[in-house]
């Protein structure tokens, strides 16, 4: 799966294309805050469930969604596993490994499960945003909300360079495979060669890009999206829209449940 193309494809052709970026960002980020704040597993599961089903309903293929989820999961699971051994006093499972006595604790397990749910809920919020909204529009909206230019510009450059790096990596890797890299004995050596050549190449790329930007008098300003479209600015007079009302209702319910904490 080519994440760049698939992801970008979803962002421009999903059911929420016509909903304003600000609304989507508000929905995603406000719900994320609730997920960080709440202690209730029920609420976290509710967020995870709604967010991922909305995202999938908008047009993302389940297979791709799960594949994308696997990336953060592969970081999450090991750390949560370790956590289960570190906290608490009531052992659930004990065994010895290489002469060490290890005990899985109930408290640690519970904490791990909560953490896991919280992270997944948060990730589903962010997935909703990146799978339904083009990065250019997110950055544009960030600018509108007076987020400092340097932050917006940096995020943009990072985004752009991710793809440059992926491309460089793929072509270098193909070249290595063609010359019998990554065979049994030389896997690590091949990887180290890949990394070092990527460093050199990306520095070169960065320098070329800098020269090209300089040649066009770049002074830290990224053009906003309004230059391409002619009608949009006039049609966006309404502040209140059905989607916004829905979002506010949903988030208000979540907030009340989170504050009450009774569920």
């Amino acid at each position: 799966m080519h994440f760049d193309h698939t992801l970008e494809g979803y962002t421009v052709s999903n059911k929420f294309v016509n909903i304003r970026t600000g609304e989507k960002m508000f929905f995603s980020i406000f719900t994320l805050f609730i997920a960080v704040y709440t202690q209730s597993p029920f609420l976290l599961l509710l967020i995870l469930f709604t967010m991922s089903s909305i995202t999938i309903w908008s047009g993302v293929r389940i297979k791709h969604y799960v594949e994308m989820l696997m990336i953060p999961l592969s970081f999450l699971l090991p750390s949560i596993f370790v956590l289960a051994f570190l906290r608490g006093s009531e052992p659930v499972l004990t065994f010895s490994l290489l002469g060490m006595h290890l005990a899985m604790m109930r408290e640690g397990l519970e904490l791990g499960a909560l953490l896991m749910m919280r992270s997944m809920a948060g990730i589903s919020c962010l997935f909703f945003l990146i799978m339904t909204t083009p990065i250019a529009e997110i950055l544009d909206t960030m600018k509108k909300f007076r987020i400092p230019g340097i932050v917006v510009e940096l995020s943009f450059m990072v985004y752009k360079l991710i793809f440059v790096l992926i491309e460089e990596m793929e072509s270098t890797k193909i070249a290595q495979y063609a010359r019998l890299g990554y065979l049994r004995g030389n896997r690590i050596k091949s990887l180290s060669l890949l990394l070092s050549s990527m460093l050199v190449r990306s520095l070169e790329k960065a320098q070329n890009m800098e020269m090209a930007l300089e040649a066009r008098c770049y002074a830290g300003k990224m053009p906003s999206l309004k230059f391409g479209r002619e009608t949009e600015s006039e049609s966006k007079v309404h502040v209140i829209s059905p989607s916004l009302i829905l979002i506010i209702l949903f988030d208000a319910c979540l907030l009340v449940m989170a504050v009450e904490g009774g569920v």
């Binding site: 421009v12 090209a212 040649a215 053009p223």
Partner: protein, 294 residues
């Protein structure tokens, strides 16, 4: 395409848009990359800078808008010597637009119109003016339909055009293109040259400089050819004068254009009235037909 421009020297002096005077430059202080370059670009003239790989073409181009600073020598743009203050550089870069060889280095914004707007926006033009310029630039390159496309989805030829549009939107007086046809298939490169041509005709007070190692393109298209080899200018002049010279071809590590080579053969064998050599296959065929009838 027919005939060559024959200005008088006085007029030429007045129309000099860029003057490079005895330019020396080295990257690492061990070896000179440019050794005493003297060169000028004339208003309304299409100049081709010919040179093999590593001859210093790109290095020379990067001096024209002040990205590189010469170790010795000076550069005059529109009558003023380059000074390297921030303000002066912006002014120069507005006048001298450089299209880089690799469009991927140049196209930074995710969407085409956004990238074309980058120059104008950073020149702090008004929103209306930015919109106009983006529209005009896309129109001049005949790529309005690409306006809303994502930059990384474009074909190589489309990317080149977008890169040119991005520079054109700054409305430069001097347009510099580094290897515009490299990496393009024959159809796209011909297409691109036609577009550069029509664009140049629409802005007749522009000077165009194309750096390439494509001798056929240089011979057929240029008003003036400059051959660069190992950081030195070997010869500069009208295409047939420069490219018909065996010595220049050899020291520049180039090849004589095919049309010229064939014509030279015919000329030696049969031609009675050697005049201006033909520049394109069509012109060559015309000459041959004329001679055969006689």
């Amino acid at each position: 395409m027919s005939g060559y421009k024959d200005e008088e020297d006085i007029k030429r002096d007045a129309e000099k848009m860029v003057e490079v005077q005895d330019l020396w430059f080295s990257y690492n202080k061990e070896k000179w990359a440019l050794k005493g370059i003297n060169m000028e670009l004339i208003r309304g003239e299409k100049t081709v800078l010919l040179g093999s790989n590593g001859s210093g073409k790109t290095t020379l181009l990067l001096h024209l808008n002040g990205i590189l600073i010469p170790d010795k020598g000076r550069i005059k743009v529109s009558g003023n010597y380059l000074s390297y203050t921030k303000k002066a550089l912006t002014e120069v870069r507005k006048r001298v637009g450089i299209v880089f060889q690799n469009p991927d280095d140049q196209i930074v914004a995710p969407i085409v119109f956004q990238d074309v707007a980058l120059g104008p926006v950073n020149l702090r033009l008004s929103d209306g003016e930015v919109k106009n310029r983006v529209k005009r630039a896309l129109n001049e390159l005949n790529i309005e339909e690409l306006s809303d496309r994502k930059a990384h989805e474009l074909s190589e030829g489309e990317k080149k055009k977008v890169a040119i549009a991005g520079v054109l939107a700054m409305e430069p007086e001097i347009l510099v293109l580094d290897e515009p046809t490299s990496g393009l298939d024959p159809q796209s490169s011909e297409d691109l040259i036609t577009i550069i041509d029509s664009m140049y005709k629409q802005n007749d007070n522009m000077a165009v400089l194309v750096a390439t190692h494509n001798v056929e393109l240089a011979y057929e298209w240029a008003d003036r050819v400059i051959v660069l080899s190992e950081g030195e200018i070997v010869k500069s002049g009208k295409p047939y004068e420069v490219l018909g010279d065996e010595k220049v071809i050899k020291s520049g590590r180039l090849a004589m254009p095919r049309v010229l080579r064939i014509y030279k053969g015919i000329e030696m064998a049969a031609c009675e009235n050697p005049g201006v050599p033909p520049r394109s296959v069509e012109e060559l065929l015309k000459v041959m037909k004329g001679n055969l009838r006689q």
